[in-house]
């Protein structure tokens, strides 16, 4: 989901957390950003011989800050780092003052030896979500979805091939595909989500693919909207692929239920007040005069061989742009801890922070 943006040159320490994070994301397409972040932090702990609590926490904090700074959209990532940090602090506090040194080593050993387990569990939580969410896909219904969310994909696929259950659900899918032209670097790339579309079609689910401009037109034929999320914020809204907000607004206007599927490790402690209040920099709205366009073009031709400036040019159609869908548009969040109303999210977050 995040761009492979390895800035290995920025490494300020022998172990490069940013590169590790990016490598992890690249190596396993099923890995989500929070889990990759947790993995990176675990690897960091393996590489650093810190033996006291405060030393470790300090190291974690520094590396987290460094990682967040180096990634263009750190919202999903910070869910993982925050969770990891809070888990460590809570576990360290739990035993009271009963020989913290000994406990710390045990916890460290647990974390280091179980990093594979975290990844496996994160993937298992998708199955759990699929089990909770299966009820939302009814026989004969039409589901509208977008983006490349792996949780949504697994939910729909499980509904389609429910071999053990009473019967497979017969449903249709309207898949909103974002136009691939945004990706300047590889114009031949297919839009995100095509893989899911193929998998669903292979299972015999009729899938219609529509462009983002046809959402309002198609929504009348849909019974339910199911989307994924990059992060679930404190007020129960979601940060998700650009275009989700408009689908939410349209679903609300048409009275269609709008469900969000997300693992609970994506809950993140951010409270955005609106679209432009996200803690990330995205140049989606970029006002330009002809003069500025010309200068930009000139600059591009001047420095065509230096890769450092491509970032600025891509900004016009940033493929990783996200938007914020406020909680009042969301009917329910299907998570691995059950079906929650948006207001339940803040409680889950409060439980780990306070």
């Amino acid at each position: 989901m995040a761009t492979a943006d390895p800035r290995t040159s920025k490494a300020s320490e022998p172990f490069d957390i940013v590169a590790t994070y990016n490598d992890l994301l690249r190596s396993d397409p099923d890995l989500t950003m929070p889990i990759a972040a947790i993995e990176a932090l675990v690897l960091l702990l393996t590489h650093s011989p810190s033996s006291t609590i405060s030393e470790t926490l300090d190291l974690l904090e520094k590396s987290t800050a460094h990682l967040k700074k180096s990634i263009p959209n750190p919202i999903g990532l910070s869910a993982g780092t925050d969770l990891f940090q809070r888990y460590l602090i809570t576990t360290l506090q739990r035993p009271g003052q009963l020989g913290p040194a000994g406990d710390f080593n045990a916890i460290r050993a647990h974390l280091l030896s179980n990093s594979r387990l975290f990844i496996r569990r994160a993937k298992e939580s998708r199955d759990k979500i699929a089990a909770f969410g299966r009820g939302f896909v009814r026989d004969g219904s039409t589901v509208l979805t977008n983006g490349g969310s792996r949780v949504v994909a697994s939910l729909l696929q499980q509904a389609a091939d429910e071999k053990g259950g009473p019967s497979a659900v017969r449903f249709n899918v309207i898949y909103v595909l974002s136009s691939p032209k945004g990706d300047i670097e590889s114009p031949t790339a297919e839009p995100e989500g095509m893989e899911t579309v193929r998998a669903l079609r292979a299972k015999g689910v009729p899938v219609a693919t529509i462009p983002e401009s046809a959402v309002a037109y198609s929504l009348g034929k849909a019974d339910v909207v199911i989307v994924g999320a990059e992060g679930v914020v404190e007020n129960g809204g979601i940060v998700s692929r650009m275009g989700t907000y408009q689908i939410g607004l349209l679903a609300k206007a048409m009275g269609k239920p709008f469900y969000v599927v997300a693992e609970s490790h994506k809950f993140v402690r951010v409270y955005p007040l609106g679209q432009y209040d996200l803690p990330i920099e995205q140049h989606v709205i970029d006002f330009k005069t002809q003069e500025e366009v010309d200068t930009a073009k000139q600059q591009q031709s001047n420095s065509a061989n230096s890769p450092g400036t491509t970032q600025g040019l891509n900004s016009e159609f940033h493929p990783d742009a996200v938007d914020f869908t406020p909680p009042h548009l969301i009917s329910a969040l299907i998570t691995d801890s059950g079906v929650l109303t948006p207001s339940a999210v803040s409680e889950e977050l409060i439980k780990i922070w306070f």
Partner: protein, 435 residues
């Protein structure tokens, strides 16, 4: 509609009487057939019958093993729910009782945990060395640390489930073996009779069912002010008690929609104060004075006039059949029209409901929640020509989405619809939601 009440009509009263003499299996079958034949209707009657039945089931169950009790209650519960799936209070009461048993079993476990701590450490079946290491770490601290700490460990914070011990893997919701969050319960021998405590708990539920209307009515003065115009619907006793409580202190006007054709007779009786003659409601409300006796102006209107009058109404107070986890509710037909009209006029909608009506079920399919009743109430069969040529439907219930409701008043106080999930999680255990 209550069945015509002759002394011999099977119903709640006859069921409760027979419960004392009949063997338990007969009583279960008896309640199942009463539910199937709709001879026990009203939410509260169903809830009361279920609670009494489960009390007998548990006292007849000669075991003190929590997992056996849970199994027994689950099997009885499944049959009761299958008998009348739309009567969601039955499932709610079964879940409450299951939760009671689990709570007691866990208290027990906490109690003897420190004694058998050495044995419990080897129980979590994790082949990984790292897991075992820190599992034993937790185990030791649970036993030796103070009570609040051990309860923290017993109820893991759900967001940490990713990083913490892999106990979540074997505690799939609904499997009876996963009785406690840590999955250790079944292995522990019970050393006290949890049955007695569970029976006490069920008695508390029964008491709650008896008092719930009065508890809700206690909030009436906070919500009904002098000279207000209140609109209500159906002959719900919860709403009547709520209004009566306020009527003792304040003067206001009540507009009562008659809810034709399923409840209009009872509504007329409620308004005029002629004895409702309804022996299903065991309590004393049939002796209560009607609102008009308190000097309240009551205006009876047909349902079709609701929208026209809504602009003059200050508040809509509704009763309900059951409340769902997302804040929506299933109430008698006509409720949605009223709620929608209130929304258009920005009139606040208040729903009064006992907590026992609050169901953890998420409404995936609204249509399946709606029950259809006797169509002869719409057109009598004597109108043969018409009956032959048209399709007559008489839905008994409406689904009202959460966004049409402004406030729920339960016996615990007032809640926003979006807060109901919290009350659900307070009252029902996660593992019991789909038992």
């Amino acid at each position: 509609m209550p069945p015509p009440s002759a002394p011999l009509t099977p119903g709640l009263a006859s069921f409760l009487k027979s419960l004392k003499i009949n063997p338990i299996d007969t009583s279960i079958d008896n309640l199942i057939s009463l539910l199937k034949r709709r001879q026990i209707r009203h939410s509260r009657s169903c809830a009361t019958a279920t609670a009494y039945l489960l009390r007998s089931v548990i006292s007849a169950c000669r075991t003190s093993d929590a997992s056996k009790l849970i199994e027994r209650v689950q099997s009885v519960g499944r049959r009761l729910i299958a008998a009348q799936p739309r009567e969601m209070v039955v499932g709610n009461i079964v879940r409450r009782v299951l939760g009671l048993i689990r709570d007691e079993a866990e208290d027990d476990r906490d109690g003897d945990f420190s004694l058998s701590e050495a044995g419990s450490e080897s129980l979590p079946q994790t082949p990984r060395a790292g897991d075992d290491l820190s599992e034993s770490l937790y185990g030791r601290h649970d036993g030796s640390a103070s009570k609040p700490l051990s309860s923290l460990a017993a109820h893991p914070i759900s967001m940490f489930s990713l990083l913490s011990q892999p106990e979540s893997e074997n505690s799939l919701p609904g499997s009876p073996a996963s009785a406690s969050p840590s999955g250790r319960l079944p292995a522990h021998p019970q050393n006290k009779d949890i049955r007695a405590e569970v029976l006490d708990g069920i008695n508390e539920i029964i008491d709650e069912l008896g008092q719930v209307d009065d508890q809700i009515a206690a909030y009436a003065l906070d919500h009904i002010h002098s000279n207000e115009i209140i609109l209500t619907h159906t002959s719900s006793t919860t709403v009547q008690k709520f209004l009566l409580k306020a009527a003792a202190k304040r003067k206001f006007t009540v507009i009562h929609a008659e809810s034709y054709p399923n409840n209009h007779e009872a509504t007329h009786a409620t308004v005029s104060g002629t004895a409702p003659n309804d022996d299903e409601l065991l309590s004393t409300e049939s002796f209560q004075k009607p609102l008009i006796a308190h000097g309240i102006t009551v205006i009876l209107i047909p349902d079709s006039a609701v929208f026209a009058l809504m602009s003059r109404v200050n508040k809509v107070i509704l009763g309900t059949h059951s409340v769902l986890a997302n804040g929506g509710l299933v109430a008698s037909a006509g409720t949605r029209v009223i709620a929608r009209a209130a929304k258009v006029h920005q009139t606040p909608v208040v729903v009064v409901s006992g907590v026992y009506k609050l169901s953890p079920v998420y409404p995936f399919d609204f249509d399946s929640l709606i029950e259809y009743g006797d169509s002869s109430k719409v057109i009598g069969y004597e109108d043969g020509d018409l009956v032959e040529q048209i399709d007559v439907q008489n839905p008994l219930y409406d689904y009202v989405p959460a966004e049409l409701v402004d406030l729920y008043i339960t016996n615990l106080g007032g809640h926003a619809p979006s807060y109901l999930y919290r009350i659900v999680s307070d009252h029902y255990r996660k593992e019991d939601i789909n038992f």
